[in-house]
Amino acid sequence: MRYLPHTEADRRAMLAAIGAKDVDSLFRDVPAAARLDQPIDLPRGQSEMEVERALSRMAAKNLSAGSVPFFIGAGLYRHHVPASVDQLLTRGEFLTSYTPYQPEVSQGTLQYLFEFQSQVAMLTGMEVANASMYDGATACAEAAVMAARVTKRGKVILSGSLHPHWRETTETTLKYTGLECETLAPDPLAMEDLMGRVDSRTACVIVQNPGFFGGIKDLRPLAEECHAEGALLVVAVADPVSFGLIEPPGAMGADIVVAEGQSLGMGLQFGGPGLGLFATRDKYVRQMPGRLAGQTVDADGKRGFVLTLSTREQHIRREKATSNICTNSGLCALAFTMHLTLLGETGLVRLAELNHALAVRLETKLKRVKGVRVLGNSYFNEFALYLGEDKDASEVVDALAERGILGGVAASRFYPEWPELRPILLLAVTETTTESDMDALVAALTEVL
């Protein structure tokens, strides 16, 4: 077997050195009743070629996003990733390295995490960011727990603008912690009023901006309200490219910002792994979950980096830790920081402008389709299209797929229990969307509606 270096001669020599007659004898502590004498009845090992064939066969059953006009977003965006990102990512020294607990031989990982943290803090307009979490949804849940810890309060308010998966993950996470969730109805018009809801029991309000349905809100009044009541404002962001164009949450008074970082560096990957971005204010840093890289000096006085503030973490604090999280999304953070470094300020701003401009262009083209209209009056690169009272967006999505177009997501996929959302179709564009993709969508929509 190609991954196993031992020859039979090696095994014999090693058993002799151990003084064991066979490998089975090394398993003697396993109760006899539980020992298997034979390989389990599952297929035997295969060559590379055979495994490639098996997985390629599965791949062939999918309709890949890049092969058709594609307009799906809903929290996960298909951006172009520069070729150098993936080629650098697969360098063995990045790919096959362990968590950087031994900083002397991990300066590569630690420095990019420090750079990553700096970039995330800048993007979000916050003071400090951690070295990443599993994904946006879990980062959001962690933010709720952290807000409760900071404020020592028990109620978390979830805006209707929040991505339904993030909401569900947060609700699940809080379920047995003694904290309470107050969840608002889905908010396609970005009209919900959170102002009156914040009270002295409120640990935090969590809003998404741009919202799940696309709308962009000025969060300053809400931040003031939260702070007046002693609550924190948590802002969730689904596409970090939007930071290139839209006022950052930090500038609008957010106390914690969580985001999904997948947009940069990683491609879609059917939604996983993601990359949770998590930023906050300096004063809360010791309440923050997750790994942190920090700057220090080595024995020769040279600048270097280490994992730090680990007294917050589970391997020291055990049940009193800020979270049970014990890993981050290191490689995803690397992809993110590489892509963002390639873009730089100039590239990110241009990219954000282009995304927005193309979305505006799609809205314009959609005016040719009778009976549809964009809901709300602001968006970044995704908006909610209202198809008409009697229309079912999920049927439209299926009809478009039959025509070889991945034409967005029906809101009802997330909210089956809300019939009034049935006519709503979420449509996203990015820099990868071409003029002819848009025309194909408009033509097909006209046909199926």
């Binding site: 077997m1 270096p5 031992h6 151990i18 064991a20 003697r28 396993v30 109760p31 539980a34 020992r35 390989p39 389990i40 009845d41 599952l42 297929p43 090992g45 590379e48 997985l55 599965m58 791949a59 999918n62 996960l76 020294e93 990045f94 790919l95 096959t96 390295s97 362990y98 002397e104 300066q107 750079e115 994904d135 569900e168 993950t169 047995y176 000025d218 164009l245 879609l268 059917f270 996983g272 792994p273 920090g294 220090t296 730090t308 391997h315 055990r318 049970n324 014990c326 890993t327 290191g330 690397l334 390639l342 730089g344 300020e345 100039t346 927005h356 009056n377 996929r413 089956p416 820099e431």
Partner: protein, 489 residues
């Protein structure tokens, strides 16, 4: 060679990505919220970026560059085939919200991997979406809590956890609203069964036992433990971090396990990647299966269907959702490619070789270092620091000295039940030659320490690394967690 920070390399106006020109931004559609201040990101060209990350990578150690005798982490070879498969456009250029009939192959990947995990463990169900080991632990405990709540036993709030457990165990328990009750170990390095039995009671929700345990030993009284636990109405959560030792040789179902997470990035060889992403699918017993979180894949007519809502779950009682989307799909592809490559025969051979390698280290080093416990070990060999007594050299010093010899240090000071622990897991993908080279180096270092007078030299190690020992106290006392304009190197 020193490598500056990206912020020190940038110069405004460069670009590493050419973006097509956009028409002027329509402020109407931005609610007046166009960004006012610059972000402050540095501008670099592509050649600079490629060189920066290439140079950074060279400051890292990885499996590809050398042996990682880390305990409890299973740093084995990461096949490049898995990476190649995880980049097939037909598998990765897929959006989780595409119509399900356009992603039947992706669902097949998930379903096939689930089939293998169930088959290997003998367990009837698996929750695929947890993102990492600790996440899987929490998922298993959530299912347990959901079960008890559903069965009117929500008074069960105590969890028994051996002293030697990973820190994530108590932390995960706390996140489910459980209190943690530690169980002592015997001097055989195993759970004290009598003590455990004494602590079992009607308020115990579950026990959390790592098996093989963190001392590298198989809990030989596991059947008795499981039986007593079940008799007390509690569940047996097994921490699967050390599953690599027994794949294909033991079905955990036969041990009485009710739930166990599987670290795909350990046992099934997906890359650690400097700390993630991992994946922690959690196998569940018949009783716990209905409470598995959303989403999950079911067979439905001719095809596969991803269940995303309780209403369409066919009567299951999912306890909720643990993350966005459908799980760590990119990791699944790699694990599946590995599993198909190894097959049931290869997986069994792998765990056999893993245990062989650990026992070989134990045998070769047993006379030099001080093994903590008697008898054969499983996939890792545990030593304590008695062999360093009076040398002035600590476990930390000893481990750091290894670095200058070209090896990554072993795991130090874990498990906590042993003084100055040195835990080594050689894994099955290391050759005898590599182990022999390592043994010679460890022996030579031990001899040097034993000879005395070398403490200062040990404390000065490592010397030949991009950085020498770093000041962790300063890092924690005055944290510098990001670069700021004007801040200096």
């Amino acid at each position: 060679i020193e490598e500056p920070l990206i912020f020190e390399l940038g110069s405004a106006g460069r670009v590493g990505v050419d973006v097509a020109d956009a028409p002027p931004v329509d402020e109407d559609r931005l609610s007046g919220l166009r960004r006012k201040a610059p972000i402050g990101l540095p501008d670099l060209s592509e050649p600079q970026v490629v060189r920066h990350y290439t140079r950074l990578s060279q400051k890292n150690y990885g499996i590809d560059t050398g042996f990682y005798p880390l305990g409890s982490c299973t740093m084995k070879h990461n096949p490049r085939l898995s990476e190649k498969m995880a980049r097939l456009p037909g598998l990765v250029d897929l959006h989780p919200f595409q119509p399900q009939k356009t992603v039947q192959g992706a669902l097949e990947v998930i379903d096939t991997l689930a089939h293998w995990l169930k088959g290997l463990t003998g367990m009837p169900a698996v929750a695929m979406s947890p993102a990492a080991g600790a996440h899987g632990e929490w998922c298993g405990l959530m299912a347990i809590r959901a079960y008890h709540d559903d069965h009117g036993e929500n008074h069960r709030r105590r969890v028994l956890v051996p002293e030697s457990a990973h820190g994530t165990n108590p932390a995960s328990a706390a996140m489910c609203g459980y209190s943690v009750d530690p169980v002592p170990a015997t001097d055989r390095g195993r759970v004290d069964v009598a003590a455990l039995k004494a602590k079992l009671g009607p308020d115990v929700a579950c026990i959390m036992v790592t098996n093989p345990n963190t001392c590298g030993l198989f809990e030989d009284e596991i059947l008795e433990i499981a039986e007593a636990t079940h008799a007390a109405g509690a569940f047996f959560y097994c921490d699967g971090a050390n599953y690599n030792a027994i794949v294909g040789r033991v079905k955990v179902a036969d041990l009485g396990v009710d739930a166990m997470h599987i670290n795909l990035h350990k046992t099934f060889s997906t890359p650690h990647g400097g700390g993630g992403p991992g994946a922690g699918p959690t196998v569940l017993s018949e009783k716990l299966a209905p409470y598995a979180p959303l989403p999950f894949v079911v067979h439905d007519g001719d095809g596969l269907r991803m269940v995303e809502h309780p209403e369409s779950s066919g009567g299951a009682k999912p306890f909720g959702r643990v993350k966005g989307y459908h799980g760590q799909f990119g990791v699944f592809i790699r694990a599946l490619a590995y599993i198909l490559s190894m097959g049931s025969d290869g997986l069994r051979q792998a765990s056999s070789d893993a245990v062989l390698n650990a026992n070989y280290l134990l045998a070769r080093l047993g006379g030099t270092l001080t093994p903590s416990f008697e008898g054969p070990c499983m996939h890792e060999a545990l030593f304590d620091d008695r062999f360093l007594k009076d040398s002035g050299v600590t476990t930390l010093d000893f481990a750091k000295a290894l670095i200058d010899e070209g090896f990554h240090p072993m795991t130090m000071y874990f498990p906590l039940v042993v003084h100055g622990a040195l835990l080594m897991e050689p894994t099955e993908t290391e050759s005898k030659e590599t182990l022999d080279g390592y043994v010679e180096v460890v022996k030579a270092l031990a001899a040097k320490a034993a000879a005395g007078g070398a403490a200062d030299e040990f404390k000065a190690a490592p010397k030949y690394t991009p950085r020498r020992r770093l000041d962790e106290t300063q890092a924690a006392r005055s944290p510098v967690l990001r670069w700021k304009p004007g801040s200096n190197a």
